[in-house]
Symmetry: C2
């Protein structure tokens, strides 16, 4: 399989961490997309991914899967190793729920702040800003951090006792928060400690 | 299991259609939430669902699952009948991808237009409007309708040959579009025909 992405960007990192957790990074060919020059918005790339975003997975039959949650679900099912998406219906549902909260309430919220209420990727790419919305999404991200801290006061990982794609999404969300200069409040010690533990995993620290 | 919801609202409809597809509507106790009077934002309800939204599933152990995608995934795994979320890793990934497109690009976009750029549920509940954002999301919904029409020109359902949760989400999105007075353009015949076929399913027409 091939993955079109940009190394170091938050959403591509979700897929790379999932692959590393499964020990499968070397089974994928990565193809860089020149996002800074708008390649992701070209007709050629939109034919692969109508969302005009990275990452995008290309299967061996030439078809494409985009949306990180779909790609990481496919990776989890395709390679051996501990499940990242849950082994039982209840575990799967909890992981899906927490992954969506981390995605919409943290990663996408910080992304909206970055792209709408800061210079973002620069005036050539940020042609559709709505600062009022971006600033509200920064508040949403702050509220989600408080919620996640509360969850992590009671359990080791966002969806329970096991590391999952929900943790990967939230971890990437905090990386995006760094990029956007949105800080984790000092008093959210459970979230900060969880972040340190996740950062030390071989899939990320290596 | 119990489901806290409001009959007739678009997101609750997603869960009710999934249950009907599995022939399991009678296995759930529905508990109405007085959304019009803000019950979903009460501390008591937030203890069940921190998202302060309906629907919310209560399992027999007293724990809760929210986010429609998580609830419908749990329903699909818990009851017999044709799969709504896919039988193979590729099918699951395609359904997850198309479900997210239908959710973010249609249902949530129309919802943002309704709540931010129209009177929505009225001044008591709509205390945080951002009209500029809402109006842009109406455009996003229009673009997604064109994309979905293009997909449905080539296949019977949004994720391929089989009906799935992606179809349920898009169908609920069009119901929300009706509520928000966002029309499907006349020329999108594939989307209109698909809607008629889905509306005739026993899970919806009955």
């Amino acid at each position: 399989m091939k993955i079109y992405d940009v190394e170091g960007f938050p959403n591509p990192a979700r897929v790379r961490i999932a692959l590393a957790e499964k020990g499968a990074l070397d089974q994928v060919e990565f193809i860089p997309v020149d996002v800074m020059n708008g390649e992701h918005r070209s007709a050629e790339f939109r034919a692969k991914n109508p969302d005009a975003a990275v990452p995008c997975l290309e299967l061996d039959d030439g078809s494409h899967i985009s949306q990180c949650t779909a790609i990481t679900e496919y990776i989890d099912a395709s390679f051996d190793g501990p499940s990242l998406t849950g082994d039982t219906p209840v575990a799967r549902a909890r992981i899906t729920m927490m992954n969506l909260r981390a995605e919409n309430g943290l990663l996408n919220a910080v992304s909206a702040y970055f792209h709408h209420a800061t210079p973002g990727l620069g005036p050539t790419l940020e042609t559709d800003q709505c600062a009022e919305w971006g600033n509200r999404q920064k508040e949403v991200a702050g509220e989600m951090m408080v919620y996640l801290d509360d969850v992590l006061a009671k359990q080791d990982y966002l969806a329970g006792d096991a590391f999952s794609v929900a943790d990967i999404t939230a971890f990437a969300g905090l990386a995006f928060a760094d990029l956007a200069k949105v800080e984790i409040p000092e008093n959210l010690s459970h979230l900060r400690n969880w972040r340190s533990r996740v950062a030390a995993r071989p899939s990320i620290a290596a």
